[in-house]
């Protein structure tokens, strides 16, 4: 198996890498680029913990071949804050106490960002729809939804 050349944009920076063709995006991010903010849950596209944004749209990186991001722009949770300044969604998640174990939170924050970028003032059902691809086993979602509402008011 020969490694394939891959060039793409990650959190605004150009990345070039040589990777095995079977590599999935989540493994490229975590194991090759050492960005551990993206989580692995079910590994079959159901739990959404591995969500990242490709050209601003959420996708499940655990079932997304890494080669697909050639020439595309990828955003992970590491690209959300500006240095020490948290993104308004991250701040709202903290303020509302919306995080328990935290495993789903990178995906929640990114899907919320994708939603608010398109629809800055969603109602509750639109928020629930936007977040519906990420499972949270701790919180019952209420505070997460509240946090997104709060962030949308800013």
């Amino acid at each position: 198996m020969k490694d394939h050349k891959l060039t793409f944009k990650l959190n605004g920076r150009k990345i070039s890498a040589k990777i095995p063709p079977r590599l999935l995006l989540v493994d490229l991010l975590r194991d090759v680029l050492n960005l551990k903010g993206t989580k692995v849950g079910c590994r079959q596209g159901e739990c959404g913990a591995c969500t990242v944004l490709v050209n601003g749209e959420p996708i499940n990186s655990c079932i997304y071949p890494a080669m697909k991001v050639a020439g595309q722009a990828v955003t992970t949770i590491e690209g959300l804050s500006k240095g020490e300044n948290l993104h308004p969604i991250q701040q709202a998640l903290l303020d509302e106490g919306a995080v328990q174990c935290g495993y789903c939170i990178p995906a929640m924050a990114l899907t919320a960002k994708a939603l608010l970028d398109k629809n800055p003032h969603p109602d509750e059902s639109q928020i629930r729809g936007g977040l519906s691809g990420v499972l949270c086993r701790c919180t019952g979602y209420r505070k997460i939804v509240k946090a997104v509402q709060k962030a949308s008011q800013k």
Binding site: M1, K2, H4, P21, R22, L24, R43, Q44, G45, E46, G48, T51, E57, P58, I59, N60, I63, Y64, P65, M67, K68, A70, T111, A114, G129, G130, S132, G133, V134, L135
Partner: protein
């Protein structure tokens, strides 16, 4: 722990030697021919990747067709709507044209998986996977869609009704052919459609039962000229309820007609008992409800609502 994970998909690697990204259809077909039998077409990959990981599908070479030009468009010409094989569920769930001219298809697309899946999964993939419960396949079947398939020997078109000869095996060979397009007639003024879906949750849940209906009414709004009803999963392949449809031809628009259709559908649907999707008896009973309610809504959308809504 290691032992426990051995046979679980988590512990398995995808064994792909090459990942090819052709820029034209000719190039893609050439690659498939070059690696004859060992290469497989991949589009969104939301089915292919999990199947490769589980070992249910094998391929040395993946030919990613998502960069092929012209296959990501939704077009409308002379009453016919055409979806490129690469159109994503998100794309046609939110398309104003599809909402207006084939609302049942937009409803079905919006129910698939999650936003993450819908952003990636394609209409071509949904058809090619040939699952009896495929959300988008059911309305396309009721809309009398036909698909265009491209191979090195040229293009062929086949009606969707002939696309599913047996379970999980569509009338296309994804090791040498590409589904380029699916077309169907836009709903006319005297037609209405509906899509109903029963699932455990509102997101990320496969349908326990789904029903797509398209009705055509006569100009006086007294009779059903024709009805197309597809159901899933009630048989090994996506299913058109032919006997129910025959009974509805030229039937008066009445509560009794709908009751009769529901009874016929109950008799001809044959779902299995499934731990995931519910018992056979329950789902058969729900077929009755869905056919009656689906027809009622489709009639309302055709402007021929029954006075008594059920």
């Amino acid at each position: 722990m290691e032992y426990a994970l051995k046979d679980f998909h988590w512990g398995k690697e995808i064994e792909v030697q090459q990942y090819l990204q052709p820029l034209t259809a000719q190039e893609a077909l050439g690659m498939l021919a070059q690696h004859e039998g060992r290469a497989l077409v991949i589009a969104g990959g939301t089915d292919v990747i999990p199947l490769l990981r589980q070992g249910d599908l094998k391929a040395d070479v993946l030919v990613d067709i998502t960069c092929l030009p012209g296959m990501g468009d939704i077009e409308s010409e002379g009453g016919t709507i055409s979806l490129g094989g690469l159109v994503t569920h998100a794309q046609f769930a939110s398309s104003a044209l599809i909402r207006e001219k084939a609302g049942l298809l937009a409803d079905a697309a919006g129910a698939v998986g999650s936003p993450q899946i819908r952003n990636v999964a394609t209409v071509g993939g949904n058809l090619v996977s040939a699952q009896p419960a495929a959300d988008v396949t059911l309305p396309l079947l009721a809309l009398n869609a036909w698909v265009t398939i491209l191979s090195q020997t040229g293009e062929r078109e086949i009606p969707l009704t002939q696309f599913f000869p047996s379970q999980g095996r569509p009338a296309i060979d994804c090791r040498r052919e590409i589904l380029t397009r699916v077309r169907f007639p836009a709903l006319a003024k005297n037609q209405g459609g509906s899509y109903l879906r029963l699932s455990l949750r509102k997101a990320l849940a496969l349908p326990m039962l789904a029903c797509a209906v398209v009705v055509t009414v006569d100009p006086k709004m007294k009779r059903i000229k024709e009805a197309a009803i597809s159901l899933g999963p009630v048989a090994p392949t996506p299913f058109r309820a032919a006997k129910t449809e025959a009974g509805l031809r030229n039937a008066p628009i009445s509560k009794e007609t709908l009751e009769e259709a529901a009874r016929t559908a109950f008799d001809e649907a044959n779902p299995r008992s499934s731990l995931l999707r519910g018992s056979k008896d329950y789902r058969k009973a729900m077929v009755k409800v869905f056919v009656r309610r689906g027809l009622s809504r489709a009639l309302a959308n055709a402007g021929a609502a029954l006075t008594e809504e059920n």
